[in-house]
Symmetry: C2
Subunit: 349 residues, 2 copies
């Protein structure tokens, strides 16, 4: 019989999610010349001549990434697809195909999976992505969803995290922090419901942030807008873990520093209202909340005029040389170091 225990035990929490991936994938060297980019961006990039194939993959785990108490299965299916498409969009590519692996316990019925797939199909329809692979197996407990998305882009149009330049402008689409406030609201109502199942949830007027949490969209429209304006981002990432964590990916991978201006960060009024209700700084929700799936990107400073004209795109800061570090300039003018404190699913346990 096998002994899977080890003499030296390092807890997973000691490394954290990103530390763990770095550790497990350290020193990998590609065997195939078609491997243009492996681990370490929103998607892997595979050479196919004029075009590249983009591949990204996400795991969604019940009890870690979603709570079925307040997440309708149809929304969950939709979101599982969208967050993957968002990774392809963040490479400046177009998602084309999708593979979905689902592992379920017998707590779920065929009708429940039909609901989940209705959401998956809805997202496929909306983004014109083909579901080309399905694998469904049992789990001992809970629901696991593994989505792989395939996309394509012209080789010269692929946008990495590592290619921002000094003085580039930092831009973000839409508004931030809403998905996180939506989550806090749903969590609060869950507790209320647990304490008193007769109580009706108080979610009125907060549709916007609930939708941000339950039914995010991939910003394909932002890519189109940038193309029309003749602007090619120099680096790009999607905001799944919060602005702080994402900008640090860009600065670290590009070997640069940055400044972000608190008063430039776009925050919707519903997000701000609910944050106030929770006695939470809305900037914190934007910096560390995550799951907004907006695009964070850098553009050449010469594109300033073009970008300034674009509705729904906000210039929030700029890139500096590495020695300048990464700082948020507060409304009061103070400098705060930017630190990744987003959802870290590895540390949570």
């Amino acid at each position: 019989m096998t002994d899977n225990s080890t003499p030296n035990r390092t807890e997973l929490t000691e490394l954290g999610e990103f530390g763990l991936i770095d550790h497990l994938t350290a020193g990998l060297k590609p065997f195939n010349s078609s491997t243009l980019k492996g681990v370490g961006d929103d998607a892997a990039v595979i050479d196919n001549g004029e075009y590249v194939t983009l591949v990204s993959k996400d795991l969604l785990v019940e009890g870690v990434h979603f709570d079925l108490t307040y997440t309708p299965l149809r929304h969950l299916g939709y979101k599982a697809v969208v967050v993957n498409i968002s990774d392809i969009v963040a490479m400046n590519g177009t998602a084309t195909q999708l593979l979905v692996g689902i592992s379920v316990s017998n707590r779920f019925s065929v009708e429940a999976l039909d609901e989940l797939y209705a959401g998956i199909r809805m997202a496929c329809e909306k983004y014109k992505v083909d579901l080309v692979g399905g694998d469904t197996t049992s789990s001992v407990s809970g629901l696991f969803i593994s989505v792989t998305v395939i996309g394509r882009a012209k080789k010269e149009e692929v946008t990495y995290r590592s290619t921002a330049k000094e003085n580039d402008l930092i831009c973000v689409s839409g508004d931030l922090g809403g998905a996180y406030m939506g989550l806090l609201l749903l969590e609060r109502e869950k507790q209320v419901f647990k304490a008193n199942p007769q109580m009706q949830p108080e979610l009125d007027g907060n549709d916007y942030i609930l939708e941000r949490q339950l039914k995010p969209e991939a910003r394909v429209d932002v890519l189109e807008k940038l193309r029309e304006a003749g602007v090619k981002p120099t680096a790009m990432i999607d905001i799944s873990d919060g602005l702080a964590s994402e900008i640090l990916h860009i600065t670290k991978d590009s070997g640069l520093g940055c400044r972000i201006y608190e008063n430039k960060i776009p925050i919707d009024f519903v997000t701000a209202d609910v944050a106030a209700e929770f006695q939470l700084d809305p900037t914190t929700a934007a910096m560390n909340g995550g799951e907004d799936y907006e695009l964070l990107f850098t553009v050449d400073v010469n594109d300033f005029e073009k970008v300034r004209e674009l509705k729904g795109i906000h210039i929030i800061g700029h890139m500096l040389e590495k020695a300048e570090g990464e700082y948020l300039i507060s409304n009061g003018g103070s400098l705060y170091p930017i630190e990744a404190q987003g959802f870290n699913h590895m540390r949570e346990e």
Copy 2:
């Protein structure tokens, strides 16, 4: 709060794994002309001009697909990669890139994941496949491994399940039933160990079938052999669920019937010995055992002479028109209908 229950409840077991996938993916129509083949073969096929991209994905779930009591994590990592590569091989393609998603509970240490990744890296090294994506998250309990493999093939060389022709010869590589007998052996020793932890396992002399179960290989060498001999299979599939289940995929998808001769099915003597010990018919192990990851393929009858010469390739039957049905011709000359009774992970619960 959301009510995920449904008025009409159909149990997942009522449909079974394949029935469920068919049900969930029914009526899908592709949006992209690059989608050459979606759900329903060993891998999806995506057009890239002269070459196609092949994509396959598998989920491995602790307690359903593997048992860590007797599966070393290193072997598990190796096998998780190999079974995916085998899907690309079954399309007559070459695996090139790999993405691995892992979901683990805090029962696992960093050192345990290192072991798992050591196996993954070993398989990548052996098959010259690049690990280009990694996603590691927590699970509430247990270990889930989701592997996506990318491969490529010249468009005209891709081998589907649906393209066998009447009178084609049915061939299989290697030998069958070994992986299943290895599993039965490991399961037996686990029970013995549970009853008396001091007892040493009796696994001596059975290395071959244990290796078949714990460390399978993808038959890249068989593809090379066929290419050298100038033989292109007319249809192909890898044997993950047992010969019966796999030949039925080919007959069903090709709209044909078949005959398989029991006395032609290749079975290793260790497999036969251990089957005898378990009072099990070795043909049953070959037909319904699964996990051998050998290749099952059809060739044009005119290739008979070429194939007959190839070491390790066995001609076990032939394809007939659909009306003839699918039958095993026993050693005694009787006809037995071929039925899929392989591991059905959906029905197991």
